[in-house]
């Protein structure tokens, strides 16, 4: 059937393009399509110009920013300006690990607080108390590492997500780590996972993001502005690398004291605290309160210390990869932004 053959040919062309995008380290075509729809030619051309100006890299994908687009009758024709970006050399993603930047300042954000208890158990244990306790223990452990640690809150107070972001940006942190405790619909699971900024198709993650973003303090317009700037730089790649390193180190260390924890891996989610921060930012779900056994453990200082030590292990791998064999392995395994 010729119609079906044409569909197949087009699908294979798109599939090959998608694979080539991966090989070249460019944004997936689906994402580019969405960005074009949102941002239009101007932002695309501007992004290309900025990235090229910053990196000086030469590649072969600039044409995509200026590739002929299909325009509907109601859509105004684009001005002639995109021709400029067509003439520019291609933007290529920068591999942040090439710079070997040091982590000198770490902001730890204990999730929730004050009137926002976060998840709760039937016994009255509150997420806000555990995150603060673990954050304090982690700060104490990090005293032997040459890094300045700042906590977004040191007591039981309400703090909007916007304020948390402001604190991290004001101290010019190199890394932002938000600590949370999972609560899952299936109570027999003890899932730990780490998020960095990105979209999600998983309804459970979308629900989680909606809950975590509630009361952020940002207006919709602010949020859109923040989102539009996210993919231009290297921050997302760096966040992913940190998330992978932390999750691997944390899981491995925690498994030694609790073999029931499940590694739910590294995921992307559109979380406000990850959008507004200007440095690489990750959010770690370090335990799971909906599991009765885990909730009982969380009530003990010894287990909270174990969580802090496991986080410390993960953070050491980020901060001092050279001195940690595991860290080196993780760095080697981390995806590189440049093909």
């Amino acid at each position: 059937m010729p119609g079906k053959d044409r569909i197949k040919q087009q699908m294979i062309r798109d599939l090959v393009r998608d694979n080539l995008d991966t090989v070249r380290g460019t944004l997936p075509s689906g994402l580019r399509r969405r960005r074009r729809a949102v941002n239009g030619w101007l932002l695309g051309g501007l992004a290309a110009t900025l990235v090229v100006a910053f990196s000086g890299a030469i590649g072969s994908t600039a044409a995509r920013f200026a590739a002929p687009r299909r325009h509907f009758a109601s859509e105004p024709a684009p001005p002639a300006a995109p021709a400029l970006s067509a003439a520019l050399p291609a933007p290529q993603k920068i591999d942040p690990s090439l710079f070997r930047l040091a982590i000198r300042k770490l902001v730890i954000d204990p999730g929730h607080g004050g009137g926002d208890p976060g998840a709760m158990t039937r016994q009255g244990l509150e997420e806000k108390a555990i995150t603060l306790d673990v954050a304090e223990r982690l700060r104490a452990l990090l005293k032997d590492v040459p890094v300045t640690v700042v906590l977004t809150r040191t007591d039981d107070r309400s703090l909007s997500l916007e304020r948390r972001v402001e604190i991290a940006n004001a101290v010019n942190a190199d890394l932002f780590l938000s600590i949370h405790i999972n609560s899952m619909a299936v109570p027999d699971r003890v899932g730990i996972e780490t998020f960095y900024l990105g979209g999600t198709r998983d309804p459970a993650t979308a629900r989680f993001a909606r809950n975590e973003n509630a009361g952020s303090g940002y207006s919709l317009a602010d949020f859109k502005t923040l989102l539009e700037g996210v993919y231009v730089g290297v921050r997302q790649d760096e966040s992913r690398r940190f998330a992978e390193t932390l999750q691997a180190g944390y899981f491995r260390a925690l498994r030694e004291v609790n073999d029931r924890v499940q590694n739910r891996g590294v995921k992307t989610a559109p979380l406000v605290v990850l959008v507004g921060t200007r440095m690489p930012a990750i959010l770690a779900e370090i335990s799971c309160m909906s599991n009765a056994d885990e909730a009982r453990r969380l009530g003990t200082p010894a287990y909270r210390s174990a969580l802090a030590r496991a986080l410390y292990s993960g953070i050491r791998r980020i901060i001092e990869p050279e001195t940690s064999a595991e860290g080196l392995a993780a760095s080697a395994a981390a995806p590189k932004g440049v093909s």
Binding site: I7, I12, L15, V16, N19, G30, R201, D202
Partner: protein, 340 residues
């Protein structure tokens, strides 16, 4: 110019969390449990007599091995170097089973869980580069749809071990908006069942591998055709245990999330095509074989005007056959652009 049949061996590979399969243009088809194990020391190496073991052989010798099941929950587990290496070894092993002739190029299409493709695409690419002369990575549900020629107004629900992947085929290469992934899948059923059984019989000793085997033999949704009875060691004595109720509960834990996502995706299809999609829902992956599941999902669709859900006929090779179909249809110029 098309390369002659003898110059190139095209292969389609389904790299699954639980099982991996390969279909090749030479007609060879193989399936391997997705386990890779390395002997832990020289003694183990002498006993197993191999540098690396795969599938059931690896599982059977697991006390002597550093055993990896590299795609946990549809992702390369932990993003660790060892798991990347395990993916690489597993793919290398599958390709070797296809027995390419001397000098023959290998063009491979590797289908992976959609979540793996979305989150760790570059990881995967790194892990598998160099194993074939040219390589394409595709999402598994897309490969299934392509292999079945179900490219229009169809929904594929690929119930694997690590993830359940949904893909609505609209006559174009699926984008993120057309796909969904749930972690409610075979492994979550195993974990659920294990928990229920631990509660039922605290003195029973069993491993997750035993639970997995019980599920594969006795899973069902709805009314049981026969009781599910297993033998569990209690204080060292094999004891018969009726686990019918627990099996049903664990398997039916998939129903809610899958139904919810299926209905949501149908509701997002263009209104004039929703009937078509509802009547073209295809279950793939190992989970598609759970007796009663297709009927239960059809019952859910009844609330939205009815529909038809069917399982693929060959769940083991549906993905790899689809990959092979893509490999055979892709022009040489495309393969050349992806070579190296």
């Amino acid at each position: 110019m098309t390369k002659s049949k003898n110059e190139v061996l095209q292969v389609g590979i389904d790299l699954g969390t639980s099982r991996s399969a390969i279909s090749s243009s030479s007609g060879a088809r193989h399936v391997v449990d997705s386990y890779v194990g390395w002997p832990v020391d020289m003694v183990a190496r002498k006993v197993v007599k191999k540098a690396v073991l795969f599938g059931k052989e690896a599982l059977d010798n697991r006390p002597m091995l550093d055993l990896h099941r590299p795609l946990e929950r549809g992702l390369i587990k932990e993003g660790s170097q060892k798991d990347e290496e395990a993916v690489r070894e597993l793919l290398g092993h599958l390709i070797s089973l296809a027995s390419a002739k001397e000098g023959q190029k290998v063009f491979a299409v590797v289908g992976v869980p959609a979540e793996a493709l979305r989150v760790s695409k570059q990881h995967l690419r790194n892990a598998v580069s160099g194993l074939a002369d040219s390589l394409m990575i595709v999402s598994e549900p897309f490969a299934v749809a392509y292999g079945m020629d179900s490219l229009l107004h169809t929904m594929i629900i690929d119930i694997g071990a690590g993830t359940t992947d949904f893909c609505v085929m609209n006559g174009r290469y699926p984008t993120d908006e057309d796909q969904r992934t749930l972690t409610n899948a075979g492994d979550s059923v195993d974990e659920h069942l294990a928990t229920l059984l631990r509660n039922k019989m605290p003195d029973g000793r069993f491993s997750i591998y035993m639970v997995r085997e019980w599920k594969e033999k006795g899973s069902f949704v709805g009314e049981p055709k026969q009781p599910v009875v297993v033998k569990v060691p209690v204080h060292g004595k094999p004891t018969e245990l009726d686990i019918t109720a627990e099996m049903r509960r664990a398997c039916e834990s998939l129903l809610g999330p899958i139904s919810e996502t299926m209905l949501d995706l149908v509701s997002r299809v263009e209104p004039e095509y929703q009937d078509d999609v509802r009547n073209n829902i295809i279950l793939a992956g190992g989970g598609s074989q759970i007796p009663g599941l297709a009927e239960a999902l059809e019952k859910t669709l009844g609330e939205m005007g009815g529909g038809r859900v069917r399982a693929v006929e060959d769940p083991v090779f549906a993905g790899s056959n689809g990959g092979l179909a893509i490999a055979l249809d892709a022009p040489d110029t495309d393969w050349e652009s992806l070579a190296g």
